[in-house]
């Protein structure tokens, strides 16, 4: 039978009262290691430049540049650590929601019925710490795909299996 009742907008399930689950704390280590590696490479390059480049202005300015890089590195790392708490996800009956970001916060939702395929990817570091990234692909532009980083490997597999089954329509 066809029905067409008015929807009470206030009664819709809302994202406000969701219980988000944080990603694994281990993932913070990976973020810090990755960031530190980048800044260490920059600093090393600067140091080599100091030894090789004999330009006078550069030699005079060297310590200022070095200090600026260290300052940026510290601020960036602090933000990373503070923003880490905002990396959370939730799986509802009908969709997957992932939120992150301190300076720019985003809450992205992908309905399960729109998922095209799923993928678990693990870097070398993630394998050492027993972590995984779950990539959720929808149709269309690549920018809108959801990837939940820093899940426990077993957790990622569990979500992956559940979602795959839902996508294939077995549940």
């Amino acid at each position: 039978m066809f029905t067409n009742q008015q929807i009470n907008l206030d009664a819709l399930p809302t994202i406000d009262d969701l219980n988000y689950k944080p990603v694994s704390k281990q993932y913070l280590k990976i973020i810090i290691i990755n960031r530190s590696a980048i800044y260490l490479i920059i600093m090393a390059a600067l140091w080599i430049a100091k030894l090789k480049v004999m330009d006078h202005t550069f030699q005079n300015l060297f310590w200022y540049i070095f200090a600026v890089v260290i300052f940026i590195a510290i601020v960036n790392l602090m933000f990373c650590i503070m923003a880490f708490k905002t990396r959370k996800y939730a799986i509802r009956e009908q969709d997957v929601i992932y939120t992150k970001g301190l300076l720019v916060n985003s809450i992205a939702a992908v309905p399960i019925s729109r998922i095209q395929h799923l993928e678990i990817s693990r870097t070398w570091l993630a394998r050492k710490l027993n972590l995984a990234t779950l990539n959720i692909f929808t149709a269309g532009e690549s920018g809108i795909d959801l990837s939940i980083e820093g899940l426990d490997h077993s957790e990622a597999k569990k979500i992956n299996d559940y979602l795959s089954e839902r996508v294939n329509g077995t549940i």
């Binding site: 929807i7 907008l9 819709l12 399930p13 809302t14 994202i15 406000d16 009908q94 969709d95 301190l102 300076l103 720019v104 916060n105 985003s106 809450i107 992205a108 939702a109 992908v110 309905p111 399960i112 019925s113 729109r114 929808t138 149709a139 269309g140 532009e141 920018g143 809108i144 959801l146």
Partner: protein
């Protein structure tokens, strides 16, 4: 008309050899053009290539062409296609054999093209696209028109055909819209001439770079200077010369826009079939494409003040995973208002068209001012180097631009959400309206910066398979309720997005 049987593997028309040959020759020349040029230059200066006399060069070129021709023939012989009940099969490849199988139900669009050479030898090419890849999956280079039309028709008749004993009735076709020369002319005049101008400038600069040496050798610049004779001219003459240059640039840009519009849209017509829409257009590249409404992800309607005064609207039809180059073909220009409304209704049934639109929060103005101001400040740097001491004078112009930009952009920004559709309008000079069907939305994201959080403002990014629309800077409460509503709409109905 003779019925063609597509159920057995068949080759394209033998004329296809010519098309493949021409295509490969063109590709070859395009790829090695610079090399040829360099070779030619060094030949004229260097004696060490003296063994390359005219006969040898001609022989070499002949050899290359024979190889390309041979390859074209092999390619033609190895290109076979057939159609069974619900799949299209294609076998290609000279050395690497490829077999492509395409289920009819996944075909997103089929179109028939005819470029200049194909027009001369009277064949057409047929392209079949799915949403799977952003480049065309299958292209058959040479078919005669009747065969192509039949193949197209058979690709679109679904598997239901087998049990219908209805004789192939002539599908009712009505030519719904035909763009007259006059309307195309208006469309050309009201184009964005700045873009045309930039294209011309970059083209001329490119040419200049290539031939800089020759220009220097023949001292063309000096000759030009001596004929115009700017140095000895009075202030009035300089002004006149500048005015003349500006007029010339405007005129040339305008002419370029008009010619471009004409070539792309010559004989534009929209044909309404029972459940599809057909677009035919083009002068040198004749093009005919068929659209099925369920495959259409969203519509973009563009007009501006001048165009809407002439009653000109452009409708772009967006589908999933079509590359940018193809995308521009899915454009219908010079539609007037009733025609536009009719076409939208045909594609998206029960689209309301009117109704209440909501505005973004005033915070959006602040963001726009900030954005424009950053560009304005940056513009001061080149201005300082070009103009010198009086560079700050340009800020008067920049300020006026910022005011106009913020005012118009904010005025044009609005959105509407109904039971079925999401409409977002935007634009600065152009008026852009984007229409999405709610059940074709792929994902929703709410974005909010640290500063917006203090003021309870947020933006929504809504993605379909063809692109992402943004509802900018609304109150957090509204954003969240729209977010919940959209998810509810997608998830509560079991409708396919394509």
């Amino acid at each position: 008309m003779a019925q063609f049987d597509f159920s057995h593997p068949a080759r394209q028309s033998p004329k296809g050899i010519i098309i493949i040959f021409a295509l490969n020759t063109y590709k070859f020349v395009a790829r090695f053009f610079v090399l040829f040029l360099a070779l030619g230059l060094s030949l004229s200066k260097n004696e060490s290539f003296s063994f390359l006399n005219t006969t040898n060069i001609i022989l070499m070129l002949l050899g290359i062409f024979i190889v390309i021709l041979g390859f074209a023939i092999l390619k033609y012989l190895n290109f076979k296609f057939y159609l069974d009940k619900d799949e299209f099969h294609l076998a290609t490849g000279v050395f690497n054999k490829d077999t492509t199988i395409l289920p009819k139900s996944k075909i997103q669009n089929v179109y028939i093209k005819q470029n200049f050479i194909q027009q001369i030898i009277n064949v057409v090419s047929l392209t079949i696209e799915t949403a799977g890849d952003d480049k065309a999956e299958i292209e058959i280079n040479a078919l005669d028109r009747a065969t192509a039309l039949q193949l197209k028709a058979q690709l679109f008749t679904n598997a239901q055909l087998e049990n219908s004993d209805v004789p192939a009735e002539t599908p009712q076709q009505t030519i719904f819209f035909k763009a007259s020369v006059q309307r195309l002319l208006l469309e050309g005049i009201s184009q964005n001439h700045v873009r045309s101008f930039l294209i011309i400038i970059s083209f001329v600069l490119g040419l200049f770079n290539e031939f800089e040496k020759y220009v220097e050798d023949y001292q063309i610049a000096d000759r030009v200077k001596s004929t115009i004779n700017l140095q000895s001219g009075s202030f009035f003459n300089v002004l006149l010369a500048n005015l003349f240059l500006v007029m010339l640039a405007v005129l040339v840009s305008m002419l370029f826009s008009i010619i471009k519009t004409f070539i792309a849209n010559y004989n534009l017509e929209v044909v309404e079939n029972k459940d599809t829409i057909e677009i035919n257009k083009g002068l040198f590249n004749k093009l005919s494409l068929i659209l099925t409404p369920i495959r259409i992800q969203n519509l973009v309607i563009k007009t501006n003040r001048l165009k809407s005064f002439f009653g000109l609207h452009t409708l772009s039809i967006k589908q999933a995973m079509i590359n940018k180059k193809q995308q521009k073909h899915f454009k219908i220009v010079a539609l007037d208002k009733p025609q536009l409304a009719h076409l939208i209704e045909k594609i998206f049934s029960q689209y309301p068209g009117v109704g209440e639109f909501h505005k973004p929060d005033a915070y959006y103005k602040r963001v726009l001012i900030l954005r424009a101001a950053v560009i304005g400040v940056l513009l001061n740097i080149p201005a300082f180097f070009i103009i010198g001491d009086y560079f700050w004078l340009i800020n008067i112009g920049i300020l006026a631009w910022i005011v106009l930009f913020v005012h118009f952009t904010y005025n044009k920004a609005s959105f509407q959400i109904t039971d079925e559709y999401l409409t977002v309008t935007s634009g600065f000079i152009d008026r852009v309206r984007q229409i999405n069907q709610l059940h074709k939305i792929q994902s929703v994201a709410l974005k909010q910066s640290f500063f917006q959080k203090q003021r309870q403002i947020a933006s929504l990014h809504i993605a379909t398979a063809s692109h992402t629309v943004k509802i900018p800077y609304i109150t957090e409460k509204n954003a969240k309720s729209i977010y919940d509503y959209l998810l509810f709409k997608i998830e509560s109905q079991d409708r396919n997005w394509m």
